[in-house]
């Protein structure tokens, strides 16, 4: 950070060669490269984002960590009471929704990696072959990503509605005694909602891979074709390895998607039994009249720790690689 701030202003203050006039003032002004206005602009450009970042990211994150060790109903700061590890003890031992929620977040990640990601890669490979109407297909597959997740949740909820929904109406499972409760049954609802999530995630992955495939040097393919490799061999030994940077992005994006999964389920069934997620537990405890802010913060801290446990090893690996390079 410090290196940056001292160097870049000077670099920026050096007039671009094209417009620079061989004026004497430039030499005289060497002592004060930065005018008042420059310094003001710089302070604004560096200061404002810093303030916002600190206030919105660090202060709030640290505040929730601190609040996780208290109970607070959100009314007046004097009602904050220090309770030590009680919230966590309660969470780990007494909350019947907590462990299922952790489990569902993990399932969410595993499913997203195993189903829509290869599916997206497959679609990207097909579209990369410049088949006819490829723009149309691209748009169609990508559309679910553009639509707000809340809308996606609503649409799928109509599909799964036990009485009037598309599926039950077609297979006749909306009569007494034959109900298939896609939304309420905890053995079904997570999978039902994961189908909706995968439907969307496939499009997302397709676009990422499509961008990645564009950067694969055609000469590589040509070379492997000349060497007599068939399509599958080319993909496995030539194309896929060059997609490495894309794969990293895909992995990170999918982890983030799995941890922040919320809106789809919230609209679908508000996280009823079978679809509990950490993010929904946080919301249910903090927002609204319930205002168990300390307890909700404790859940948020668990979510933070999980995110860090995933992100830190990734960052370490990346930095190590960069240093080696």
């Amino acid at each position: 950070m410090t290196v940056d701030t001292t160097n870049s202003p000077e670099a920026a203050a050096v007039p671009p060669p094209g417009t620079a006039s061989p004026d004497k003032r430039a030499v005289q002004g060497h002592r004060r490269l930065l005018t008042r206005r420059d310094r003001f602009t710089l302070a604004l450009m560096a200061g404002l984002p810093t303030i916002l970042h600190v206030a919105l990211v660090w202060v709030t994150a640290l505040a929730s960590i601190a609040l996780a060790f208290t109970t607070w109903d959100g009314i007046g700061f004097d009602s904050i009471k220090w309770v030590g590890l009680d919230n966590f003890r309660e969470l780990f031992t007494n909350n019947p929704q907590f462990w299922p929620a952790v489990q569902h977040n993990v399932i969410w990640f595993v499913v997203l990696i195993l189903v829509p990601t290869p599916m997206g890669l497959f679609l990207a490979l097909q579209l990369d072959k410049k088949i006819r109407f490829s723009r149309v297909y691209q748009t169609a597959f990508f559309l679910p990503v553009v639509v707000s997740l809340a809308v996606t949740g609503f649409v799928w909820q109509l599909v799964y509605n036990p009485d009037t929904g598309l599926i039950n109406s077609i297979i006749g499972a909306n009569k007494p005694g034959h109900y298939i409760d896609w939304i309420g049954d905890p053995h079904l609802n997570l999978w039902a909602v994961l189908i909706a999530a995968s439907w969307r995630h496939t499009g997302y992955m397709m676009i990422l891979y499509l961008a990645g495939l564009k950067s694969v040097d055609p000469a590589l393919r040509e070379a492997s074709a000349l060497d007599g490799a068939n399509e599958w061999q080319t993909f496995r030994n030539v194309v896929f390895p060059t997609l490495r940077p894309t794969n990293t992005v895909v992995l990170v994006v999918t982890i983030i998607e799995a941890l922040r999964a919320f809106d789809l389920v919230f609209v679908f069934n508000k996280g009823a039994q079978g679809t509990e997620l950490l993010s929904i537990l946080v919301t249910n405890n903090i927002i609204g009249e319930s205002s168990r802010i300390g307890y909700g913060s404790a859940i948020a801290v668990v979510l933070l720790v999980i995110s860090l446990a995933v992100i830190i090893p990734y960052l370490i690996a990346t930095f190590r690689k960069e240093r080696r390079a």
Partner: protein, 438 residues
């Protein structure tokens, strides 16, 4: 048509919009703990003695218009303008904590009972004993009790109320020769007969998680009486008590006669099975009538009180959520606000409201009942004849307890009634923590 959910939400036409807005409300409520941020709305700082500001949650067209008519009549009578600040119903409810801590309006919409007492105890409302000296004669004792805080002072002016009961269609009962059950055994016998006749005995949808709270309330105060119910709601009685177990045993006996797949069904969809005559009965508040759009269907709708379970308690308790008004902690023009509250407690104000919104009945015993529909008359008789009134579980108990513990627990019970013992132990453990947190 407005949608009154039992927790008093004048909710939106479809579950979808409702949940969507809830999400938006959630985003807006990120300012929790930052009272200044969320205390938007009441902008007028100048205390004009001829203006009262009022925070309203009546965001739907019907109640909004009905309230506007009341305020217009009030202005004509007193010359005081009511400056209404309407917010989306769910948003209002979710932001209530920070709203009341910031710069709230002078008067605001709220619910009777525990939820009102909670804010009174937190000193976020002003006692209005002076108002009640004038309007006290207009209300029955049960309403008076509902309007008092834990300290015995009045904090609330009730406007309207509506009962929970078992709804049915007269034509269906006539066709099959059913009679209205008054005891538990008759109810079970009727359910069996309905099942034989190819009907769903009791329509049920618990996707929104609150309807099951209503079923529990009915069975519990019929089984164990009002006093125990109140103790249980207040966190004093134990959920592992044999009495609670008895309530759940009764419920488990009735559950097979409820509609399948309830946890995935909204109350609106469940009501539709009653509309289409596929279901025999439905336990809900009178707002179920909103689903009977067709006039012929609506006229066919009738209800009866939940049958007696223990003769010691009979049918003496009625669940009747009540909505009304409160005075905020530091009203800017208190004298005018008091006048407004006095007016709101009169039969005239109630008559204006009921004319526009016929799905509820007046809280006052002096209101004009001549214009009531059959259903309203019956509801009114039921409420005024009640020995005890309850509000609904999420108004009679701590909202954090009902929303984070009871709603998921009862959904679980409805789906799988077998694991009731471990469920009750879990409820009791969580209850202890929540009620201990002050």
């Amino acid at each position: 048509m407005q949608h009154l959910s039992p927790s008093g939400r004048l909710s939106l036409p479809s579950p979808s919009r409702r949940t969507l807005l809830r999400g938006i409300g959630g985003a807006a409520a990120l300012g929790v703990g930052m009272p200044l941020l969320s205390a938007c709305g009441s902008s007028g700082t100048a205390a004009d003695p001829k203006t009262v500001t009022l925070g309203s949650n009546a965001s739907d067209a019907v109640p909004k218009k009905a309230f506007a008519e009341i305020y217009a009549a009030f202005k004509k009578q007193s010359g005081i303008t009511v400056d209404v600040n309407t917010k989306d119903h769910n948003t209002f409810q979710e932001q209530i904590n920070s709203y009341l801590q910031g710069t709230p309006d002078d008067v605001f919409n709220w619910f009777a009972g525990y939820r009102m007492q909670f804010f009174a105890a937190k000193k976020l409302a002003t006692p209005i004993d002076d108002v009640w000296q004038k309007i006290g004669g207009n209300f029955p004792d049960a309403m008076k009790a509902l309007s008092k805080g834990e300290d015995g002072k009045y904090y609330f002016v009730p406007l309207y109320t509506y009962p929970w009961a078992l709804f049915y269609r007269k034509s269906v009962f006539q066709q099959h020769g059913y009679t209205v059950p008054t005891t538990w055994d008759q109810l079970i016998a009727l359910c069996k007969q309905m099942k034989k006749d190819g009907l769903v005995p009791i329509a049920f949808g618990d996707k929104d998680a609150w309807p099951a709270l209503g079923t529990f309330d009915q069975i519990n105060f019929r089984t164990n009486g009002y006093d125990f119910h109140v103790e249980l709601m207040a966190g004093k009685a134990s959920w592992t008590d044999a009495k609670v177990r008895k309530t759940f045993d009764h419920w488990a006996e009735l559950l097979p006669y409820h509609q399948d797949g309830a946890v995935g069904r909204t109350w609106q969809d469940a009501a539709q099975t009653l509309v289409s005559k596929k279901a025999g009965m439905y336990l809900l508040g009178t707002f179920v009538a909103q689903q009977f759009v067709n006039k012929a269907d609506a006229d066919d709708l009738d209800f009866f009180a939940f049958p007696e379970i223990d003769p010691a308690y009979g049918q003496d308790t009625v669940e009747a959520p009540t909505d009304g008004f409160m005075l905020s902690k530091a009203p800017k023009s208190k004298a005018s606000a008091v006048k407004l509250l006095e007016y709101l407690g009169t039969p005239e104000a109630e008559a204006i409201y009921l004319k526009a919104d016929p799905s509820v009945v007046a809280a006052s015993s002096k209101a004009d009942t001549s214009a009531y529909s059959e259903l309203q008359k019956k509801a009114y008789a039921m409420i005024s004849g009640a020995k005890h009134l309850t509000q609904f579980m999420d108004r009679d108990s701590r909202p954090d307890f009902t929303s984070t513990v009871m709603q998921p627990a009862l959904q679980k019970f409805v789906r799988d009634p077998k694991g009731v013992d471990s469920l009750l132990t879990s409820i009791e453990r969580q209850k202890k923590t929540i009620f201990a947190s002050g």
